[in-house]
């Protein structure tokens, strides 16, 4: 039996259409015009015990809203949801004892107190026995290397340190399910990989079911065996991450600074690529941003090194970067039928 099950889950918000400027703000005082935003628009989910599931999608896709309905903070506008036998919203104060939540942009720790004091308070309010508490604390010290941080007040921690402590806090009371909403947001590469490693280890050690959201494909690549892609409040893909990454993991974005090029760089590069790589018209051009132009390279069809060296020989760029495929590009390709 799945531990999380949702059918036709939806959340609609009534949003005020604000008029522009000061005059508009005055008029809003007297007459108001609302519109309905469908943040989540009919999602079906079924998650088994012990799974790590990643929700991905661009900003504003409805990932966080979905999570907030699953943790019982928001009431669904339509549809049903059952988590571990509870209707999260209705039985919140009982239900939240068995889950742990990490919200990337907020902390559940006591800002003014040392980290260890927060852990002690959590131990009390979750009625954790001394043995389980000591065991978990020992495990966290070993996995997270947060031993030195425990005596510091939370407000003196860096974002990365705080995030590790917040994750530890969420796992402290041995919850059955952990929800992580954007756990890697704003973190540098090193801390990000630490967060991923820690979450993965805890899932293995404790068998905790983990649901996380991210707009970073890398998080999913490292952690989740299953991904759920959301855009515009709708489910675009729900399946093994291998298949998803098999398609999108092979794409790279080549970012070229064309400020030194004469004429229309888009046209010139597109023509040169089509000529040199005749297979299906060559690597596709992505978006242009200022003097930057993106070339999206599917490594199944073209060798990245070939494309790069060809372009560098032919043109002189002020700067060149190689990046993972962007979320917006993934979504565009899904709509074009890449996963069908």
């Amino acid at each position: 039996m799945p531990i999380i099950e949702a059918k036709g889950l939806a959340k609609h918000f009534k949003v005020l259409n604000r008029r522009e400027g000061l005059g508009g703000a005055f008029r809003d005082l007297f007459s108001r015009d609302y519109r309905c935003v469908k943040a989540v628009d009919g999602i079906d989910l079924s998650i088994e015990k012990g799974e790590i599931v990643g929700f991905i999608g661009p900003n504003g896709a409805g990932k966080s809203t979905t999570i907030k309905m699953l943790i019982g903070v928001l009431e669904a506008s339509a549809g049903t949801v059952l988590v571990d036998g509870f209707v999260p919203y209705k039985e919140r104060s009982r239900y939240v004892r068995d889950i742990g939540v990490v919200l990337g942009q907020r902390t559940q720790l006591w800002w003014d107190l040392p980290v260890i004091e927060s852990f002690k308070i959590l131990r009390e309010i979750y009625r954790l026995d001394a043995k389980a508490y000591e065991e978990n604390l020992g495990l966290f010290k070993e996995l997270f290397s947060i031993g030195d941080l425990l005596a510091k007040p939370v407000r003196n921690l860096s974002l990365g340190q705080r995030m590790l402590c917040d994750i530890a806090a969420a796992f402290l009371h041995d919850p059955k399910i952990i929800f992580l909403d954007e756990p890697t947001i704003g973190l540098d590469v090193e801390v990000r990989s630490k967060v991923r490693e820690v979450v993965k280890r805890l899932n293995e050690e404790k068998g905790t079911t983990i649901v996380l959201t991210s707009h970073d494909v890398g998080d999913i690549e490292e952690l989740a065996r299953r991904i759920i892609l959301i855009d515009g409040g709708k489910l675009l893909y729900d399946g093994l991450s291998e298949r998803f990454l098999g398609i999108f993991g092979r794409f790279r974005t080549l970012r070229l600074d064309c400020r030194a090029l004469e004429g229309d760089p888009r046209e010139r590069i597109s023509e040169a690529l089509a000529e040199a790589f005749p297979d299906q018209g060559g690597p596709a051009l992505g978006k242009s941003e200022g003097s930057w132009l993106d070339v999206v390279v599917n490594q199944d069809r073209f060798a990245l090194a070939d494309v790069l060296s060809f372009l560098m020989r032919k043109f002189s760029f002020a700067d060149v970067k190689v990046e993972e495929i962007e979320m917006a590009e993934v979504i565009r390709k899904v709509y074009e039928g890449a996963l069908r």
């Binding site: 918000f13 966080s64 907030k68 943790i71 019982g72 903070v73 928001l74 009431e75 919140r92 104060s93 009982r94 939240v96 004892r97 939540v101 919200l103 990337g104 942009q105 907020r106 902390t107 559940q108 006591w110 003014d112 107190l113 004091e117 308070i121 009390e124 309010i125 979750y126 009625r127 909403d181 954007e182």
Partner: protein, 263 residues
């Protein structure tokens, strides 16, 4: 219960860490008491009795009322609306505790600190520095019981108003309005005896007078018998019960309107 005690202790620990906060509360309150002395000295202008109250009683009443005001002023509705606007309310809702219970425990941590810094020193200043006559007896413990009930009434009113934040997202204006209503209708600024008879009668049917008049009258009115004191406490307890229930009902309804801002 022990879980709420933990929250209370943490809140008190945080509050006690800010020494300057206490110093200025103490100083500000002492200045207010001195100002009250001069202001009412000139209002009495040599007269013995005004509206049936001697200068000593009026002054004692008002300085203690202000101390109770500072003691109970915990910005509950302001804190709630800030957490609603920033979205941090999610964190509170995710604790495996009753939300109102969590808030009370947290706020009590601050009030306990304020009690040591405000209520006690003010009482000592009024009695010893100004030599005001305050009877000492059974009225002292009963006054503490009354203060506890005042806290519950005041907290429930604040909490009720705070719930409006779920709908309006900004409670500054509402908060100020509430403050003015409570202060003027409770007799915290001017003793109720100075109000016209009809208004005073009407005010006795509202919960506000139960916040300030009750504990201070119990403490300072030497002529009050034990029966009258218990009757006052009973009325306070009734108001406390009604308002707590109203606040709980309001929260159960309002929290459905949560939208959670900022991701």
């Amino acid at each position: 219960m022990k879980r709420y005690l933990t929250v209370f202790r943490a809140s008190m620990q945080i509050n006690l860490a800010y020494r300057a906060h206490f110093l200025f509360l103490l100083l500000g309150n002492a200045v207010f008491i001195v100002v009250t002395w001069f202001l009412w000295k000139s209002i009495y202008a040599g007269r013995e009795i005004l509206n049936g109250m001697s200068f000593e009683r009026t002054f004692t009443y008002l300085s203690l009322a202000m101390s109770v005001f500072v003691l109970l002023q915990t910005w509950v509705e302001w804190g709630m609306s800030q957490r609603i606007i920033s979205g941090d309310i999610v964190i509170d809702l995710l604790r495996p505790l009753d939300y109102m219970g969590l808030m009370v425990s947290d706020i009590l941590g601050f009030v306990a600190g304020n009690f040591l810094a405000i209520a006690l020193p003010s009482f000592l200043i009024v009695v010893f520095a100004f030599g005001m006559p305050v009877p000492l007896g059974l009225n002292l413990p009963l006054c503490l019981v009354s203060l506890a009930l005042s806290f519950i009434i005041n907290f429930s009113i604040d909490f009720l108003v705070g719930n409006l934040g779920f709908y309006t997202e900004s409670t500054w204006g509402i908060s100020i309005t509430k403050e003015v209503i409570v202060l003027s209708l409770s007799g915290a600024l001017v003793p109720l005896q100075f109000y016209p008879e009809a208004i005073r009668r009407a005010l006795e049917w509202l919960p506000f007078q139960a916040i300030y008049s009750a504990p201070i009258n119990i403490l300072t009115d030497g002529g009050m018998g034990i029966g009258a004191m218990l009757k006052t406490l009973g009325a306070q307890a009734a108001w406390a019960a009604v308002l707590v229930l109203a606040a709980r009902a309001a929260f159960a309804r309002a929290s459905r309107a949560v939208t959670v801002n900022g991701g």
